[in-house]
């Protein structure tokens, strides 16, 4: 692709100014996209039109200030079209929206290029603008042939405009560097833990010291409040993510020729920023899956006695310390027979096995699995649902499928509220302490000698409730000397990796502790079997174990 190097004036050589421009423009573009979709639904939505106009207008101004000519030019041309629509001489059609969306996408790419410039120092290469400009200009010219303008568009009163502006500037907020925020949340987490250590310190012997008890309780309350506030600062409503899906649904509808209505419920549900960011991909794949595989074509739907327009519902809600997310459609549902056939073809299921429906539904998460008969631009390559599963596991969440043939399918996601703190079991191996995340622990026990068996005198197995589970000795994995080589004197933790259960051998259980997960730093990021570090009660660092990394192939 031919790319034009961007001309910059000296103001643009100040990375801070450019960064501000990028941040601000991105905000505007997000609003623009939301409003464009609103306008697409309801072409007479004057407020949406105004909001879009304002967004492009601001970007144009800012770009002009920095001498970013090509950005300014695109924003200007779009503004011209929007202005025509504003004063009633042009009626917005889906085709217009397509072009404006393309313009918006181009601007987003340019911002990304600028961002790279700040980091690498190389001049940004922006995509070709000529075609885009031409198509935007064409829109502006064609207005004479358009239908007369609906009354609502021309009957704009200035009062409406002021009201909107007020609403936009109404909330008092400041911008804070996310790194500072992350650090704050981190430290507050440490404070909560330190507070609880003080409270439970045996030396304090709280009995008979009512004042100390009262003061400590007060401290605990304040700490909890501070923690809640700090956490909430990093929480953002899921709205933006949901709205991104509106765009995806719109694009998919145009590509597949299906009619889809997207219903969003619980947009105001707040969750940790890092979770929202990591949910974008899985959600996209699930929505795509619902539309491409779940929903039928309008003709088929009518034949089946359904409304020609399919319905995809995204629902978010809080429940007992978790976030519940649902992606449901009213399409044909998963077909167990078809899944079974495909799964056998791919060798994912034994030839003569008779899996339950639930087991069959789970095969769609296998890498490379696809029921699409033909490869389309939308799906069929079999990447997608496996990404969903992987990502959800990474977020320490769970995914379930409920499907009724002919009625539709629903994906249920259950995610933790935050990724920053986990409940952990403190275990000891060879004098070192490790943290085993509780969510990964199924059960713990000390085996009896006759439950143990070996394979080829090398691999060890243990019989747990009728199931033979492989044994992984943590000290061997990590090259340490255990208290005892005798398994009957060690502790076995039943955990799970890649969907298979196994037993992890440690010396002893020391206790249970809430810990703040910390990275070991860039240089020690890829240590296998270690998910991160945590500050323990005695101020030492304890490593957090990662069952997925401990099981399976030994480290090379």
């Amino acid at each position: 692709m031919a790319e034009t190097p961007l001309q910059l004036n000296e103001l643009a050589s100040d990375p801070e100014l450019v960064n501000d421009f990028i941040v601000e423009s991105r905000e505007h573009l997000t609003t623009v996209e939301l409003q464009l979709l609103a306008l697409d639904q309801d072409p007479a939505n004057v407020e949406a039109l105004h909001a879009i106009f304002r967004g492009f207008h601001t970007i144009k101004g800012l770009a002009g200030f920095l001498g970013l000519d090509s950005i300014q030019e695109i924003a200007h041309e779009i503004e011209t079209v929007l202005d025509l629509a504003r004063n009633g001489s042009l009626q917005i059609t889906p085709a217009h929206i397509d072009v404006i969306l393309a313009g918006k996408d181009w601007l987003n790419q340019s911002l990304a290029a600028l961002e790279e410039m700040i980091h690498s120092g190389k001049p940004p290469a922006l995509g070709r603008t000529a075609e885009l400009l031409a198509s935007i200009r064409l829109m502006a010219k064609k207005r004479d042939e358009e239908d007369p303008v609906p009354a609502a568009l021309s009957a704009l009163s200035p009062a409406q405009e002021t009201r909107e502006t007020e609403a936009a500037g109404g909330s008092h907020s400041i911008k804070v560097d996310t790194q500072k925020l992350d650090f704050l949340v981190d430290m507050v987490g440490e404070m909560v833990i330190a507070q609880s250590l003080v409270k439970h310190d045996p030396d304090l012997a709280l009995g008979g010291k009512p004042r100390l008890t009262r003061n400590l309780a007060q401290l605990a309350r304040i700490t909890a409040d501070v923690q809640r506030t700090a956490m909430s600062m990093r929480m953002i409503p899921i709205r933006q993510l949901f709205r991104k899906m509106s765009r995806l649904v719109r694009d998919l509808c145009r590509k597949t020729g299906k009619q889809v209505e997207l219903e969003l419920i619980g947009e105001e549900t707040e969750l940790d920023r890092s979770i929202v960011e990591n949910l974008a991909d899985p959600l996209m794949h699930m929505v795509r899956n619902s539309i491409d595989h779940g929903l039928e074509t309008p003709e088929d739907r009518v034949r089946a006695g359904k409304d020609a327009t399919g319905r995809v519902t995204l629902r978010a809600a809080h429940q007992a310390g978790f976030i519940l997310l649902e992606v449901s459609d009213d399409g044909r549902g998963l077909d167990p027979q078809k899944l079974l056939r495909k799964a056998r073809e791919k060798g994912l299921i034994e030839k003569d096995a008779q899996p339950s429906d639930d087991e069959l539904f789970n095969v769609i998460f296998a890498p490379g699995f696809s029921t699409a008969e033909q490869l389309t631009s939308v799906s069929g390559r079999g990447v997608g649902m496996d990404v969903v599963k992987k990502q959800i596991i990474k977020l320490r969440g769970k995914i379930e499928i409920v499907s009724t043939a002919g009625k539709g399918a629903t994906f249920f996601l259950k995610l933790p509220l935050t990724l920053a703190i986990i409940d952990g079991l403190l275990v000891g191996v060879g004098g070192e302490h490790f943290v085993m995340p509780i969510f990964a622990v199924r059960e713990m026990f000390r085996p009896s000698q006759d439950a143990l068996s070996t394979v080829e005198n090398r691999e060890e197995m243990v019989l747990v409730r009728g199931a033979l589970l492989p044994i992984v000795r943590l000290h061997r994995r990590f090259g340490m000397r255990p208290k005892s080589e005798n398994l009957a004197e060690s502790l076995l933790i039943v955990t799970e990796a890649h969907g298979k259960r196994f037993c992890l051998v440690v010396d002893e259980l020391i206790g249970k502790q809430e810990v703040v997960i910390k990275s070991l730093g860039e240089s020690l990021r890829n240590v296998r079997g270690v998910a991160g570090g945590a500050i323990l009660g005695d101020g030492r660092v304890g490593l957090i174990l990662d069952p997925e990394g401990l099981f399976g192939k030994a480290a090379a």
């Binding site: 980091h119 981190d186 430290m187 440490e190 890498p367 990447v383 496996d386 990404v387 992987k390 070192e432 994995r477 990590f478 090259g479 340490m480 910390k518 990275s519 070991l520 730093g521 860039e522 240089s523 020690l524 890829n526 240590v527 296998r528 079997g529 270690v530 991160g532 570090g533 945590a534 500050i535 101020g539 030492r540 660092v541 304890g542 490593l543 997925e548 399976g552 192939k553 480290a555 090379a556």
Partner: protein, 175 residues
Amino acid sequence: MPSTSVTVSENAARTDPRAGKYLTFALGKEEFAIPVLRVREIMGVQEITRVPQTPAHVKGVINLRGKVIPVVDLRLKFGMAEREYTARTCIIVVQTEQDGAKMLTGVVVDEVSEVLNMQAGDIEDTPEFGRGVATPYLVGMAKIKGKVKILLDINLVMSAQDLHGLTRCTDDAIA
């Protein structure tokens, strides 16, 4: 301590980018120096949590006021013999940059000496050691009071690849 006037050091800074204030420390009989601006703090040796499956010179991680940072033993990193830690052993916390990202690393050294103001005239290029001795992180030598100090580019010493040597292809790389 050398008593140089500010103007002199400024002039020196203009003539040689390597001139400036250095923290010097000892490893065995050798004296090394790193730019003082890279140093965040100096602490005694504290309990280090070992991280499995890392090279020997990575001693583990420590708790730096709520932050977890890796600790590297510079003796082992430079292929010198290991030595028992003593009361003089120090961890120098340095800030380095890796692909634009700032990170803190603890460096274990035998003994921290002093902060020296090095002028352009004190600094010489690293001599050629002949065949195959790659010394990318040695930026120069300084002779102060008859003693040689080896100037280190701590950024290169800590270069991530070298540090962990374990960036493996994770088999769960997303397709």
